[in-house]
Symmetry: C2
Subunit: 187 residues, 2 copies
């Protein structure tokens, strides 16, 4: 079976291709540049986006949205992680966390899938962890240098991309999506 | 003449009514709950929103979006001011500005107007100023306690609402919009 992934991000696409191919699912990239709405819920943003995409593409399509949610900052930067990274960066998050004891945070990813005439379905992946005291590592991108996943002492940016992908929020969401597709096909 | 203001915010509506009535323009509130897209441009957000509104309402309608743009933070929190206020608040902005010399900032407001079958038109209002060293004042809302407009020593929250409205970014954008409506009617 074949599904479309609406994204302009080559890296994300390759990650999805890698995961979905393990389940025998073909994926094609389609750069629809769909609107992302403002909301504090990644689910709402993804569902809105995939509805927009399926109406135009008229093919089975999914979108993916993700963000870093810091507990002590009431979930900030959350759905606006990309914008916050571009403006105040890792440095800004570290400054906001100065003197803050509770450094717990999580990376969240939501995949929303929809078929023509159908209702959107969502799949969530999460990695819990904490905000490091300083930036460490050169791999990955975005907030990777300040995020230490649970059960490890290294930041995401200190791991190789493949090692990070094994435990990443996005991989988990994509795997749940793939399992659902496969189970449905079997019915 | 009569126009619709798509907003769920009573305070904003009363401000608009006060400004537009001075120009003989009737305004009616309509709570369409239109989607706001993610963008670093208030114009793009407002234009997208008003297009959505006019397609559904089929009446002349405007929307208004505003934000605080801090120069030293690359424009942050900008279009996401409401979300940033709800999560890290004035305290968060002050922390990000600790030890920062350039405290210049501006409040920006964009009004986007559209008629059925027409193209959206936008009007901008701006107030330049700086980020205070600490929160001061009880009036207003949002980032008002940390914003000192140019030519004053008080924060917006230390002024009465009426005094603030006289110089506010929103009033300026609304006045430009009203002047345009009146000039157009005269043609």
């Amino acid at each position: 079976m074949r599904v479309y992934f609406a994204t302009g991000n080559e890296g994300k696409f390759r990650e999805a291709e890698e995961v979905l191919s393990r389940y025998g699912i073909e994926v094609e990239m389609v750069d629809l540049d769909y609107p992302e709405i403002q909301s504090d819920s990644l689910e709402e943003i993804a569902v809105w986006g995939v509805r927009w995409c399926v109406e135009r593409l008229m093919e089975p399509v999914f979108v993916e949205d993700s963000g870093l949610f810091v507990d002590a900052l009431n979930g900030f930067p959350g759905p606006y992680s990309a914008y916050v990274f571009d403006t105040i960066g890792n440095e800004g998050i570290l400054k906001l966390m100065e003197g803050v004891e509770d450094r717990s945070a999580r990376f969240l990813s939501v995949v929303a899938f929809c078929e023509p005439g159908g209702k959107p379905v969502t799949f969530t992946g999460e990695v819990r962890g904490r905000i490091a005291e300083e930036e460490r590592g050169e791999e990955g991108f975005g907030f990777d240098p300040i995020f230490v996943p649970e059960g490890d002492r290294r930041t995401f940016a200190e791991m190789g991309v493949q090692e990070k992908c094994k435990i990443s929020h996005r991989t988990r969401a994509l795997e749940r999506f793939a399992e659902w597709l496969v189970a449905r096909r079997g019915r």
